[in-house]
Symmetry: C2
Subunit: 436 residues, 2 copies
């Protein structure tokens, strides 16, 4: 046997750039990885989609049709355009917009999930130190992205119909009075079944927001409106609302994005966005340097599926009834278990994947707070609402929770809410309600 | 009919960040889009893969097996890990490395094509103003990426076995003497069937390069070795060479990347890289902010295909014979048409997709040069070799051409080379050989 070498080798390691070395782990990643060490846990936190309704057979049959067409099949396995498949872009424009379909298709860019697109858009429009206005609460992954890009976020108060126009107006006026107007470049909204607050903006509310924005456009650089329509197709009650562009938003300043991760399958990961010039050209130049286009096979699958009219079949025949039942199960469990606890509030969401819970003001749901620990101990996991608030602007509500009904079965949802209710009651009784 | 409005509306446009606004279009994009306006053109330029051998049926059957397995099928349509599928990572490690498979799989990250990975790696290791050393010539898309990131490239002279160790040594010594050693962070190599020069580095040459690198490591920050093994599987003659890590490279300073775009299908777009710490962790944090993982469906297809042993079937049964015939057709055409022209040189490539052509020194192949225009006029397109040289370092050889035999049929290849030979002869006869 060889003896161990006795010399000590000084191991050299590569140096990371300052920005990468300083980047913190996303708080949500740390929480989730800690929590997932308990495999018996009921997660009401994960933003994953329902596993059982993922359309394996429909996708298999769609791909067979695609690949048996020699021209389309081969094209789907070849490199594609940086902006993505032209047919799919037109189908998306026709599905989500009232008119100007050719124009919207021409302005559209496809990416591997809409998150990459949000990142590219933000990078193209905002310098470090610039400001994004967003709802309080808003999508926490986007907030983490802004931090990573060195962009600051200011949150605006919301009600049951989303961002409050008067609050937006006030914030814009205040920032202008403080000499900060030059930094404001973007208003970020999740107008359909918001993640996390589950609110949907009515036409009226959208138009009010547009009027406020319009009044403040002249005071500094143009403010882009970025509407992230990720959940639009997941409506269980009521009727669809038109997107901002169809509510009269200035097309030169408005960006509409969407994704097939929620209404179809996140593993295929096709995101899209309609981008005004010069943003589209600038973003495509950047994308051509990064990856010269997202996977054409994924795009071809979605295209074939839409051409065959299967997306709506899947939604109506499978996905919407599944999620509606889950939504109903979560709402029923919350009514059963939580309504009796004084100071607990929630809305019945018309769509999406989330229920937003407000606890009595004295109960913090923060990571590491007594409630968090009591829930982990009992075996249920949630997203602390405070992660969904920007550090500036509207007050951070530490007594809030995002609950997801996407992944769990109806039985899991009921059990999870029961455990959460027990944890709230326990923490309340013990009096140790604030964060550590 | 409505009359036209008479007021003039001042149209506001979004402002791009300085970096994005200043980013030039990639020269190759402009050339190609200009050239592609002529649809009858024979392109010996495009880096696309052979269309006829794209394995539609094999992929259809693979996907059917994948999606009929309820657990694997659903998992392939769900979100995945940011670092990518663990099984596929192990299969890749087993395929391309001599040992330490678990370790390499643990250090591996999967992306949507390896280009995204090259971008992330460069962004994580190099600040603007830092230096990358690369071959003269090298992959022009990587050079464009470096320009976009504000990173400078210095090219090192090559011979028929790739980068010349003595030239690397000299450049490192010169840069050190000039006080520039602190800026050198990365050595980029395409060691198998280089794009564009088609050279492959022998073990001996690899070890010489490693020795030079090792000698210069102590003089400043660590220099990473980035080996881009995109074409490794496309060998038509001779036997495979071990990768740098298996040639004794320091694993803490060495990055090996590869892709399934060339050996399988670019439309599926799965790239991979083995990254030492802390690069892996830093890069994954960045990727989690950008897109929290690349499409899991693409990864699941490649995994299933490798599990079923089909990748080698496809290579041996279809892809390698196809490309070998095309390579032979291009070499035969070059010998037939170009050997008689004094001063024209090329090597027979053992693999890959390219033939690298050197013209007599007085004939520039630059965009817009008489030869370029004569070729466009006759209907044949090539990549001007000068795009593959960094602006600093070894002299830019404007009398070079990258020819690709990936896309064209054997007849198209023969015709294309015939037209190129006519253009060279014409330009030579006219005496107007230099660039405009």
């Amino acid at each position: 046997m060889l003896s161990q070498p006795t010399t000590v080798v000084t191991r050299r390691l590569l140096h990371l750039t300052q920005a990468v070395a300083a980047a913190p782990e996303q708080p949500i990643s740390r929480l989730m990885s800690d929590a997932l060490k308990n495999p018996g846990l009921i997660s009401l936190a994960a933003g994953f989609v329902d596993e059982q309704s993922l359309p394996c057979q429909m996708i298999e049959e769609t791909i067979a049709r695609l690949l048996r067409n020699p021209m389309r099949g081969r094209q789907s396995l070849q490199y594609g355009l940086t902006e993505g498949d032209a047919n799919l872009r037109l189908l998306i424009a026709q599905r989500y917009f009232a008119g100007c379909h050719d124009q919207h298709a021409a302005n559209m860019v496809l990416t591997a999930g809409s998150n990459q697109l949000l990142h590219l858009i933000t990078q193209c429009l905002l310098e470090p130190g610039d400001l994004v206005l967003c709802a309080a609460p808003t999508y926490f992954v986007y907030l983490a992205m802004l931090r990573d890009l060195g962009v600051d976020a200011v949150s605006i108060a919301t009600d049951d119909a989303g961002m409050i126009p008067e609050a937006l107006d006030q914030t814009l006026s205040d920032l202008t009075a403080q000499g900060q107007r030059e930094r404001i470049k973007l208003l970020y909204l999740v107008p359909y079944f918001d993640n996390p607050a589950a609110t949907t903006m009515t036409i009226h509310r959208r138009q009010e927001i547009l009027q406020v924005l319009e009044r403040h456009q002249t005071g500094g650089p143009p403010i882009a409106l970025l509407a992230d329509n990720a959940y639009r197709d997941l409506r269980y009650d009521g009727v669809d609302e038109p997107c901002f562009i169809d509510c009269g938003a200035d097309p030169a300043l408005t960006i509409e994005t969407g994704t097939f991760s929620k209404n179809l399958a996140p593993g295929i990961r096709v995101g899209w966005g309609v981008l005004p010039e010069p943003l589209r050209t600038g973003l495509l130049r950047r994308k051509s340097v990064i990856d010269f286009g997202s996977p054409s096979f994924s795009q071809a699958i979605v295209r074939q599926l839409m051409l065959d009219g299967l997306l709506d079949d899947h939604l109506k025949g499978s996905l919407l009834p599944t999620y509606q039942d889950k939504r109903d199960a979560m709402v029923a469990a919350c009514q059963r278990q939580l309504s009796a606890i004084e100071g607990v509030h929630f809305q019945i969401p018309q769509g999406g994947l989330y229920v937003w819970l407000r606890l009595p003001p004295e109960i913090a749901a923060s990571p590491g707070a007594p409630l968090w620990n009591a829930c982990l101990h009992r075996g249920v996991l949630y997203v602390p609402g405070e992660l969904c608030f920007a550090s500036e602007g509207a007050k951070i509500q530490r007594n809030t929770i995002r609950l997801s009904f996407g992944v769990q079965s109806e039985a899991g949802i009921s059990k999870g809410i029961e455990l959460l209710a027990q944890a709230i009651t326990e923490v309340r009784a013990s009096g140790t309600t604030s964060c550590c």
